[in-house]
């Protein structure tokens, strides 16, 4: 087809085209009275009428909001829906800061073993030794990887890890009779950092990044007071830059009795290269769903273990997995004896299923493989940067680590914005990079290829971005109205927020 909306440039570049897609309404619109999608065993005990115990008015007489569908309907519904998503298994998903690396299939198979998937959190430790050993080994490995002394796996995601970490910081100061009220957060930080600090009732003071995109000792020294409980730092930071002054920054904070929190979202770049603990970080979180390949699940689950130095160990959330040498091999138990613990963060162990995947990943890679991750992730990011540097505006043009940040400035004259570029990339078969973050870069396009993408894949992606830059100049309308190949054109997000429709409701019966 010759319609440019349909055919995007030379096959060499166009990594996607148009094909047939099935339509599918909402479950509720498919529902048919009396249709059956379940099968339940016969009652092998006498039936019991809850009305006898509760009286009718406490009971529900119907669930009108739920659909009635057959298994066939449901299978087709979700199979069709799935085909409307972009995904790592379909192509490059360079969402900056999210480390959308490939999720090895064997990890999924192992997490589905009944010994993990059908086990219960409250079964006696004696009946869960395999899981406890796995969790203990994972904690130990994460400590070694990060240079921390102790690790808890409980936080369900990075943000909850931040919350836990800052809680421990708070407990630490309070235990020493100090009531510090401030947490320092760089202006380039992810939104969860200030939000997590605020949840701990801390006042957030923002530290400006230097013109070179990193934090400078002066800036931190200037903000550092005895009121400051901690500095939250992300290294490499959200511009993909290594905080070269990290050691000095930590000294400044430590000198005034503060602690340093490390946001480990970007740990992928440091695996086997450098350890946050060695850089002076006192407490940090890991994102198993980023660095350790557990799948992102369309928004989650993640897993946000937290590593601490010994000074913070007394404050770890309970229970803590305890390993004791026994006559016949080691045994594992749950230890609640942490009087200074911040307490529990999760009803159970955290996202245990992710521990299984992450451990399988670590076992598959080993120390050399982990280092290889970091090297290839950094190689890929710098390769993309090197190839795009000339055509695109690079706000801070320095060697990067795992990701690089471009901006739409070079296209200013064309009226094409970062959002337009993101949408047009979809036509080329790519999930867009992270856009408009970090906030300190105007019109940011944050590209994290991860180590999973082969070189020729990057070349195609680079060619697509070049083609789009050319399109912006030759036919900006084409870009500004993208995407064109998807089932949906650009969706109206403003309308969604102005007139929120947040659930389906049947049209009033046209009686």
């Amino acid at each position: 087809m010759s319609d440019p909306r349909d055919d995007c440039g030379p096959e060499a570049v166009g990594h996607a085209t148009r094909g047939i897609t099935w339509e599918e309404p909402l479950l509720f619109e498919r529902s048919v009275r009396g249709r059956v999608g379940y099968s339940l065993p016969d009652l092998d005990v006498p039936d019991a009428d809850p009305a006898d115990a509760f009286g009718a008015e406490l009971l529900r007489d119907d669930l009108p909001g739920l659909p009635e569908l057959s298994e066939v309907d449901v299978v087709r519904h979700f199979t069709r829906l799935s085909t409307w998503n972009a995904a790592v298994d379909l192509g490059l998903y360079p969402l900056g800061s999210c480390t959308m690396k490939y999720n090895p299939k064997v990890n999924e198979a192992l997490a589905r073993l009944p010994g993990f998937a059908a086990a219960h959190p409250l079964q006696p430790a004696a009946l869960a030794q395999g899981f406890l050993e796995l969790a203990w080994r994972l904690e130990t490995a994460l400590a070694e990887i990060s240079g921390m002394d102790r690790v808890t796996l409980q936080p369900a995601a990075g943000a909850q890890g931040e919350l836990a970490g800052i809680m421990m910081v708070r407990a630490y100061h309070e235990h020493r009779g100090e009531r510090r009220r401030v947490v320092l957060v760089p202006d380039s930080a992810h939104g969860t950092n200030p939000a997590s600090a605020a949840l701990n009732d801390y006042r957030v003071v923002s530290i400006p990044s230097g013109a070179d995109g990193i934090l400078h000792p002066e800036a931190v020294a200037h903000a550092m007071t005895d009121e400051v409980a901690a500095l939250m730092i992300t290294n490499p930071n959200t511009l993909g830059l290594f905080e070269t002054h990290i050691a000095e920054l930590c000294e400044i904070v430590h000198a005034r009795g503060g602690l340093v929190y490390g946001d480990g979202a970007n740990l992928n770049a440091l695996l086997g290269i450098a350890r946050p603990g060695d850089l002076g970080i006192d407490v940090m979180h890991f994102n198993l769903h980023k660095t350790f390949s557990t799948p992102h699940g369309g928004g989650g689950p993640g897993s946000g273990p937290v590593g601490v130095k010994n000074i913070l160990a007394p404050y770890l959330p309970v229970p803590v997995i305890h390993r004791r040498e026994g006559s016949e091999g080691a045994g594992f138990s749950l230890d609640y004896e942490f009087p200074l613990s911040i307490g529990r963060l999760h009803a159970n162990f955290g996202n245990a299923g992710m521990f299984v995947r992450a451990w399988a990943y670590l076992r598959s890679l080993g120390p050399d493989g982990l280092r290889r991750c970091a090297e290839m992730a950094v190689l890929n990011a710098n390769y993309v940067l090197a190839k795009l540097r000339d055509e695109w505006h690079v706000p801070i043009d320095r060697p990067v680590m795992h990701e690089c940040v471009l901006s739409d400035q070079a296209l200013a004259a064309t009226g094409v914005t970062t959002l337009d570029v993101a949408k047009r990339l979809i036509d080329y078969g790519y999930h867009p990079p992270t856009v408009y973050f970090p906030l300190i870069v105007h019109g940011a396009l944050m590209i994290e290829p991860t180590e999973s993408e082969p070189r020729e894949g990057l070349d195609r992606f680079i060619a697509a971005l070049s083609a789009i830059a050319a399109e912006a100049r030759s036919d900006s309308e084409l870009v500004r109205t993208a995407p064109h190949r998807t089932r949906h054109g650009r969706l109206d997000e403003t309308r969604a927020a102005r007139r929120p429709v947040l659930r389906w409701q049947p049209d009033p019966p046209a009686s």
Binding site: V45, V106, G130, L163, M167, A247, G343, V356
Partner: protein, 458 residues
Amino acid sequence: MTGDLPRFIPHTEDDVREMTAAIGVRDLEALFDCVPEKLRLTRLLDLPAAASEQEVVRELSALAGRNAHAESHPWFLGGGIYAHYVPAAVHALASRAEFYTAYTPYQPEISQGTLQTIFEWQTMICALTGLEVSNASLYDGASAAAEAVLLAMRTTRRERIVVAHGLHPHYGDVLRTYLRALSVDIDWLPRAGDGRSAPVAPAVDDATACVVVQSPSFLGPVQDLRAAAEAAHAHGAMLVVVVTEPLSLALFQAPGALGADVVCGEAQGFGVPMSLGGPALGFLATRDRFVRQLPGRLVGETVDTRGRRGYVLTLSTREQHIRREKATSNICTNQGLCLLYATIYLALLGRIGLRKLARLNYAKAEYLKRRVRETPGLSLPLAAPGFNEFVVGVPDSGAAALARALDGGIVGGLDLAPYEPELGASVLVCATELATRDAIDQLVARLAAAGAGAGTAP
């Protein structure tokens, strides 16, 4: 491994050579020049060497083999995570890579599968809770309860909380953890004789932000939500209802219909594998007027440039990536895939099946209760009726009784000694559709007395 490159990192040595050249660096080492020499790790990490895929499978299968699970034993252990049958279609569909290898649907045009699913979930949770708006999941039931309390505090600008007896003890712990930094005064109500909470009315005052009631309670009894709602509303406080066994929502009147302002809790019971309690599925629903205080993602309906209906993430001005320290919550990654499991599950069970399943669970539990009543040595210390879980008094100790059950290959329930010592020797038992009559008879016999077999059944 045989010194091979990792099978899922595609770079060959040629790639590396050409790419470093294109970048203009000497070698891989040079890529890390920005990391100060003295900060670099000068040794290999001290981790076990890489294992081949078949070895990894062997190792982890062996570990899995050392855990009991609901397919290896008759299972009566609940207490917040429930053993229900998950239809095979749920796993088959949730295993579609387009679902589980995608992330948060920031780019709606290429994420409609995830977005429509969330919208369907929001709709069904509203129907089940009797409320008007639901978010796109929270970490688990415990953090959902904590987030609900924070929502109530923001909404009412009050800092006093009344917690009815029967909140899952771990949820209570998490609530304490979440509120530690804030100067909140929490009033924990005692248990009434019948097992329900002492009335909340006396405890509520004009400083109260919310009343938190779990129903069915941790010990099983269904609580008096209407009374709690009246008491709370009489003082301008909100009623937060916590649910740990979501299937109970199919049997009992919707909490929203009884006056709840927020209904939250754990939805693992809707087709999500138990998986040692995580990943689980925190849910939270409330009334439209509180939507701007809602934590977490929210999906809304809209149209595209061609007027075609579609879905997008919306009202994100509540969220950390926009509002930062002023956000309603710090949550970013949530439990999306578990939401998918539950949405598929609810679509399959549906309007009729879910109610039938709830009735099935109720009947199994009632039969178990009857057998307990008939069995010398066992007792039902709490009179208030419940759903599929309740307390059984045992002759010697919970631990001993459960050990007897285990000798019979049965995971018999939860020893309440660490949780409710004042109940004396007792266990919390749960009977779902997986419990056969025979297993129930066996359990009862073994809880009652050493060596007893199912023979004691009539």
